[in-house]
Assembly symmetry: C2
Homo-oligomer: 195 residues x 2
């Protein structure tokens, strides 16, 4: 039995709505402008004051982490879907395409990757993404859809390279071309020392 | 017949030496720390005052441009050497390796590439590098050492991606691994739609 007054309930609902609005605005602004984007712009887009942003997310890093965490949960879902594909080769191509698009589109993510070499998300999520990637890689290698001299670390670097080279506005089509070269180079029969 | 006093000659020689020292220090500091490196650090390394740096190079951009121009002349020389290799395939691999190493090592260059999509060097040099690259690409394609659905723009993006992903300290070995995947993907027989 709740003892709270209707006005308190209303205030809590408003606070939740504001927080959701800030996150939505931050997602759009960071995707378009990268981690350099200002809190003022995010507040304006969300239709709230700068104070509301700061109450919910004391630092810009907190806000970036929350936005990326939400996107990474989505990414994890997509990876699980790809893993369910009976064709391991197709699943791998889908995984690489999703990762490159995701990283390229999220300038903030690419910048964080470049600056720290790791994502500012909740620890559990990072491990889950890492495990899902490892499983994907092993499965593709067992199915002879991916050369065996390539590691998960190599693939992360490749995705980071594609993302960083194609965050420049107007090079979206180039990302697909870059990815195609890489995917062709990753097939076992493409290795230079292939018997 | 020179009418200048020995002391004037001496002053000019000192000025030249200081300029050369600043350039050498800037080259080392930019390579290690990127374009973010401070003028103070460069002055200290060169053993001159900050004023001497500023008299020779009014802005940091001037200094970056001069350092990169010198490195690019060197690069052009290496490209011409590679072009003289009778094996067009080997020449292409050498070109890509040189470019990736050069771009990866020169963080400042990679950052400039990422930020502006172009080099802050003298116009003539840019065109010469571009022409040399184009010739290298055409020659490799004619020799069937490079797939024909790849453009010079694609290769520039690929090199930029490799460079940006591998400017993180400690990933020098990874650059070679990334490059190998890309080089394997660039051979005509690796194209997914190869007959």
């Amino acid at each position: 039995l709740s003892t709270e007054l209707p006005v308190e309930k209303q205030l809590r609902a408003d606070a939740r709505r504001n927080r959701a609005r800030v996150l939505e605005a931050a997602d759009a602004v960071f995707a378009a402008e990268g981690a350099r984007a200002g809190i003022e712009e995010i507040a304006e887009r969300a239709g709230v004051g700068v104070g509301t942003v700061c109450r919910n997310f004391p630092t810009k890093e907190d806000l970036i982490a929350e936005v990326l965490a939400a996107r990474c949960e989505e990414l994890l879902g997509e990876m699980r879907e790809a893993a369910a594909d009976p064709d391991a080769g197709a699943a791998f191509v889908r995984f690489m395409t999703t990762m490159a698009d995701f990283s390229g589109r999220y300038k903030a993510l690419a910048e964080e990757l470049a600056a720290r070499g790791e994502l500012p998300v909740r620890p559990g999520l990072k491990e889950q993404l890492h495990e899902a990637t490892d499983r994907m890689v092993r499965r593709a290698q067992e199915a002879k859809a991916l050369r065996t001299d390539v590691t998960t670390a190599d693939l992360k670097l490749v995705i980071s390279g594609i993302a960083q080279a194609t965050v420049i506005p107007g090079v979206d089509a180039s990302r697909q071309r870059f990815l195609r070269i890489v995917l062709d180079g990753l097939r076992p029969e493409s290795a230079a020392d292939h018997p």
